[in-house]
Amino acid sequence: MVSTPPPSEQKPAAVRSAFAGWAAAQATPRNLLLLGALLVIAVTWALGGFRSSALAAADLPRGAVGTEASASPLVATLEQGRIVDSDDELGLPDVDGSHYVLVPAMLTTTDPRPMAGLTLTRAFSSDLAGRTRFGAPAGDTDYEAGPEILQAEDAVPVSGLQPDLPQSAVLVWEQSDQAAAPAEVAVTVHGYTWRSSILSDGAAYWDRTPRVQILVPLVGARTGATS
């Protein structure tokens, strides 16, 4: 004796059967490929694949003063800095209306090729306000130019780093007296990728990317002058 399902179960079964039929009809190779592509895009998005690779300053790994910070190909060890009005050994004159923020650093490139001075300079940025000659025009806080980098030994500007040859240097920012010279400065070290570009001949350092941020304590903090 065959029992028939009650009427309340007959309707869902019919719906399931109709859906299965519709799904089977849609399972053409073209639709399956489209579905696969959509899945790949969705999974890539879910895993963060479409987010910018550059981290916000707040998300950057923190380095410490006196320890090596790696921002490939650059390795930098920053030391406690100081704020001065002038420095005879570094050839920094006393300029009305501004002072200097000096951060000693040991710099090395681990790439098998030299790093040019301009590339090296752009590997450093800071959160100092009121940067003037070396860093930015006064008041332009968005400007991201790096510091002047001088040889610690004889104050000659560093015009490049040689592979695996540590260079003792001093990072110099000039800051307006109008801005407060803080007790610490956040220095961000940027890395690069050596690659060719469709826009230029040959390979070069591209893709400047913030890699690590170091809070450098400064001796000689002062409040900003009121104008």
Partner: protein, 203 residues
């Protein structure tokens, strides 16, 4: 009315075609990455090798490495001393003579035995020279800072007018061994680097 059904044979052919297309794309991508591009090939330099004291003919000039020396401190043409913190200044003296047009030396580098490249790193130490008029040879000291351990087996790469892309360059073995490199590091007297000048002029 139901939609026309795709015959199983046709479906199989479509799948095979799609598979072949994907395989072709993969193969093309692999070949593209494995074979140098035309752009890379065009950019490759034409290397002419030589030895110290031997003239090497390039496209527009002849160059000759006259000698090589080194020290941890050099005195630049301005009279200032330049120290190498942890390395050695390698000073290569190059003679250049243009054939048909003015030529200069720039972009000179020294390549270590393991392929690391060293070039000018300080603006106050000479690493370029010229412009030399045709058949007026110049003698140019080129100073490059290197780690001691990178010096043995190194060779100098000399382009003319700074271009190594698609042009002739000279590669000259400097013939330096580890003991010589170490002796340069320990040298107490600074090495004087003269200014570049035409060969006839006193250096």
């Amino acid at each position: 009315m139901s939609a026309p059904q795709t015959p199983p044979r046709s479906r199989a052919l479509s799948a095979v075609a799609a598979g072949l297309a994907l395989a072709a794309l993969g193969l093309g991508s692999w070949v593209n990455s494995a074979v140098p591009s035309v752009r890379d090939s065009v950019a490759d330099p034409f290397v002419r090798t030589g030895a110290i004291g031997q003239s090497v003919a390039l496209r527009t000039a002849r160059v000759e490495v006259l000698g090589v020396d080194g020290a941890s401190v050099v005195v630049t043409p301005s009279g200032a001393a330049s120290h190498s913190d942890s390395g050695v200044w390698v000073v290569v003296t190059v003679r250049i003579e243009g054939d048909r047009e003015p030529v200069s030396l720039s972009g000179v580098s020294i390549e270590s035995a393991d392929g690391r490249v060293y070039a000018q790193s300080r603006s106050d130490v000479p690493a370029a020279c010229g412009e030399a008029q045709p058949h007026v040879p110049w003698v140019c000291p080129i100073a490059v800072e290197m780690p001691v351990e990178a010096i043995p087996g190194a060779h100098v790469v000399i382009p003319v007018n700074g271009s190594v892309r698609g042009d002739a360059v000279a590669e000259v073995d400097l013939g330096i061994d580890a003991a010589t490199a170490q002796s340069w590091r320990e040298r107490s007297m600074p090495l004087e680097v003269p200014a570049s000048a035409p060969e006839e002029a006193p250096l």
